[in-house]
């Protein structure tokens, strides 16, 4: 009965499959070479960041204001993890493609497709292995955090976790793109080109289209590099997380559609279309999730705590009429300094644009104005600073401006540390450990002596 069960699709055990996928990804050179390259890359970025942070900290010893501007998130974590981002963008696709590409090239896909697993199960196992590979590749990144702490540096758990989570989601997305590319491509080389078209194409989008108005700006927002910005700013946007997970799941589903070799292309195209529609619906729903958390210790994405509490009590809808073009730098300031914070602090905020395009001789005297309408009253300002906007809002609501809470100021974490001793770790000890682990992974398996009986003549 057990054998019959083993043939029923969906009844086969998952453990051998995931073990095989992990062995496959560990058995290839791509992951280990990537790890060996990441170690010095992260190490150099960390050393440079720590050195610059130390120089800035020297000035902070004389000035508490300068000290308050020193955050390890901006000074250490973002630049150090940035090296991992480059590595994941350029090298991780080759690791991820391997989990499917090699089976296609060796012909083993014909065997895999006959095993009693659903295509979705096969892809789920592969995606899990790819994510495990990302986790392994993040060891140098995590070791940089340990080194920073050993140097006496400060780490905020929410900030660090949020940024790590962002990089994990980015790794998952790149892995899903690579899996999809491997599923639709005949060879690993083609799959690599397809994946790099996504990842490096994102850089091209950033460089060429960002800051341009209209459609170009919208297309630039699709860039993969935009994903990390929110996490690097210390924001945990649930809509963004849902969007990334939806996209990764959609790409994995598409990979599952294109995996079985025995299904006609027309059927695959129909299923793909259904998949894409489902993903678009999911992305639409994700875009409606406005909830986001400011996880930064210096509360850079929020108003002071006293203001946040006061604003949370303004229950009437606030309408903000913005007479600025979206590509206007003043709008970017207004968005970052005021509007985004208001959306998180107040229960009902809606923003309307009346700016159109900024141009010489348009004759629009109102251009640059921002009108705030609350409780039937309105006021206009051209400022992008909360110092002017918040009193305006309190006046509109007829509320008292709250007193600043003592001791709520961010102290900053200056640190003058000698980061030189981290270099032997990143350039010597860690690569040696990686090489040792690689060697261990290639050791032949133990043989049961009872198997060493030969029946066939050789």
């Amino acid at each position: 009965m057990r054998s019959r069960d083993a043939l029923m699709i969906g009844r086969a055990p998952f453990a051998p499959l995931i073990a095989k996928e992990l062995r496959e990804i560990l058995g290839g050179r791509a992951l280990w070479i990537m790890l060996l390259l990441i170690c010095p890359l992260i190490g150099y970025s960390f050393f440079e960041a720590a050195s610059l942070y130390g120089e800035a900290s020297e000035a902070a010893t004389q000035s508490p204001v300068v000290a308050a501007s020193l955050s390890p998130l901006d000074g250490i974590l973002v630049p150090t993890f940035g090296a991992a981002y480059v590595a994941v963008t350029l090298m991780f696709p080759f690791v991820a493609i391997r989990v499917l590409g090699q089976e296609k090239e060796s012909g083993a896909l014909h065997l895999l497709a006959q095993l009693p697993y659903r295509a979705s199960t096969l892809i789920a196992a592969k995606l899990a292995a790819v994510f495990a590979a990302w986790a392994l590749a993040s060891i140098p990144m995590l070791s940089a955090l340990v080194v920073w702490r050993l140097l006496g540096g400060h780490l905020s758990i929410p900030e660090t976790t949020n940024l790590l989570g962002g990089h994990a989601l980015y790794g998952l997305l790149v892995g899903a793109i690579a899996l999809f590319a491997a599923a639709i491509s005949e060879s690993a080389a083609t799959a690599a080109i397809v994946t790099l078209a996504f990842t490096i194409g994102s850089w091209v989008l950033d460089f060429t289209l960002a800051g341009h108005p209209g459609l170009a700006d919208w297309i630039a927002q699709l860039s993969l590099t935009q994903i990390l910005r929110s996490f690097e700013q210390g924001l945990l946007s649930f809509g963004l997380v849902a969007g990334i997970l939806t996209t990764a799941a959609g790409l994995a589903a598409l990979a599952a559609v294109w995996l079985p070799p025995g299904v006609p292309v027309r059927s695959k195209l129909i299923r793909s279309a259904m998949c894409i529609i489902a993903v678009l619906v999911g992305l639409g729903a994700s875009s409606q999730i406005k909830l986001s958390l400011d996880v930064t210790e210096d509360r850079r994405n929020s108003f002071p705590l006293a203001d946040e509490r006061a604003l949370a009590k303004l229950f009437d809808p606030l309408v903000v009429k913005v007479h600025l073009a979206p590509e206007d730098p003043r709008y970017a300031d207004l968005r970052r300094n005021v509007l985004a914070k208001l959306e998180r602090a107040m229960p009902h905020v809606s923003i309307r644009f009346f700016g159109g395009r900024q141009g010489v001789g348009t004759g629009d005297d109102a251009y640059g104005e921002v009108e705030y309408v609350y409780g039937g009253r309105s006021d206009v300002s051209r400022s992008t600073s909360p110092r002017e906007i918040l009193p305006l809002l309190y006046d509109l609501a007829g509320a008292q401006r709250p007193q600043a809470e003592p001791g709520a100021d961010y102290p900053g974490y200056p640190l003058i540390a000698d980061a030189y001793w981290s270099l032997p770790w990143f350039f010597g000890a860690l690569p040696l450990l990686v090489a040792f682990a690689w060697w261990r992974s290639r050791r032949p398996p133990r043989i049961n002596p009872s198997w060493c009986v030969t029946e066939v003549s050789t």
């Binding site: 009965m1 057990r2 054998s3 019959r4 069960d5 083993a6 043939l7 029923m8 699709i9 086969a12 055990p13 453990a15 051998p16 499959l17 073990a19 095989k20 062995r23 496959e24 058995g27 290839g28 090699q102 089976e103 060796s106 012909g107 083993a108 014909h110 065997l111 497709a113 006959q114 095993l115 009693p116 697993y117 070799p261 025995g262 299904v263 006609p264 292309v265 032949p444 398996p445 043989i447 049961n448 009872s450 198997w451 060493c452 009986v453 030969t454 029946e455 066939v456 003549s457 050789t458």
Partner: protein, 271 residues
């Protein structure tokens, strides 16, 4: 998909069919409905095109339970394409596969048959033992069964070698071992003797016969007609993607009107 297919899948390696578990209800119903022995597998109208080129043209034949059926034909006859379309790893443009009288859709072929392709070295970076353990794990085969397969196919000396480092003969044995680990009642093998010398071929033939005697059905695509004549119970002669004839050697000789002819002579006469 409420239908259930008659699976004779739980035949342990080295045991006879009588030791297998009782057939599924659908199997018993089919057995009762058909007093005349029914073919295990019926293929009809199987057609496959690659663009303008027609690889298979309305191929049809039947396979009986427990037999060794040889698909024979020259290189380019369409043997591999035929096996792949039967196994469902290549989509067919037309045709039907019937299993115990019930139409078998492409998605469920892997429940009753397992196809061993030619020239595949699965998971080249892995040691042989890991590949075997993976398949044994998937099909819930015991360590004893795995040990039996390793012993029968003489794979012990190569267990620690990586698949890419195997000789052609050992790579072929590995593929056979995967087929032996799969519990399917029907095994499709593409060029199973490629890479073996005469002695090894004879040993493998012995193992194939043993497998067939235990109730497993085998379809072998063979381009070496002498090997096919030694091994197979019946033959399907394939040329240019069409079935030219099918039957036992005696039947083929009779139809070719050459009572003493070898399979090679008959093939040349009929194609």
């Amino acid at each position: 998909m409420g239908r259930r297919y008659a699976l004779h899948a739980d035949i342990p390696f080295g045991a006879s069919r009588q030791t297998a578990g009782s057939p599924l209800p659908a199997d018993r119903a089919l057995s009762a409905a058909h007093t005349v022995p029914q073919p295990l597998l019926e293929i009809s109208g199987l057609t496959k095109r690659y663009g303008e080129q027609i690889a298979l043209t309305e191929v049809g034949f039947a396979v009986n339970a427990g037999e060794l059926l040889g698909l024979i034909g020259p290189n380019g006859a369409g043997k591999t394409t035929l096996l792949e379309t039967i196994a469902g790893v290549l989509p067919a443009d037309a045709g039907e596969i019937v299993w115990h009288g019930v139409r078998l859709p492409q998605a469920r072929r892997r429940e009753v048959m397992f196809y061993l392709p030619d020239g595949v070295r699965p998971y080249p970076e892995q040691p042989v033992l890991r590949v075997l353990e993976f398949f044994a794990g998937v099909y819930r085969r015991s360590d004893a069964h795995l040990a039996d397969v390793i012993a029968v196919l003489g794979l012990a000396p190569s267990l620690q070698k990586r698949v890419h480092a195997l000789s052609k003969g050992y790579a072929r044995r590995l593929m056979l071992a995967l087929g032996w680990l799969a519990p399917h009642p029907l095994l499709l093998m593409d060029e199973p003797f490629d890479g073996f010398d005469l002695r090894q071929t004879q040993e493998i033939v012995r193992q194939l016969r043993r497998s067939a005697s235990e109730g497993r059905t085998l379809i072998l695509a063979i381009h070496q007609l002498a090997d096919a004549e030694r091994v197979c119970d019946r033959f399907v002669l394939l040329a240019d993607g069409r079935v030219r004839d099918a039957g036992t050697l005696a039947e083929l000789r009779q139809r070719a009107n050459r009572p003493e002819a070898s399979l090679e002579d008959i093939f040349l006469a009929l194609t």
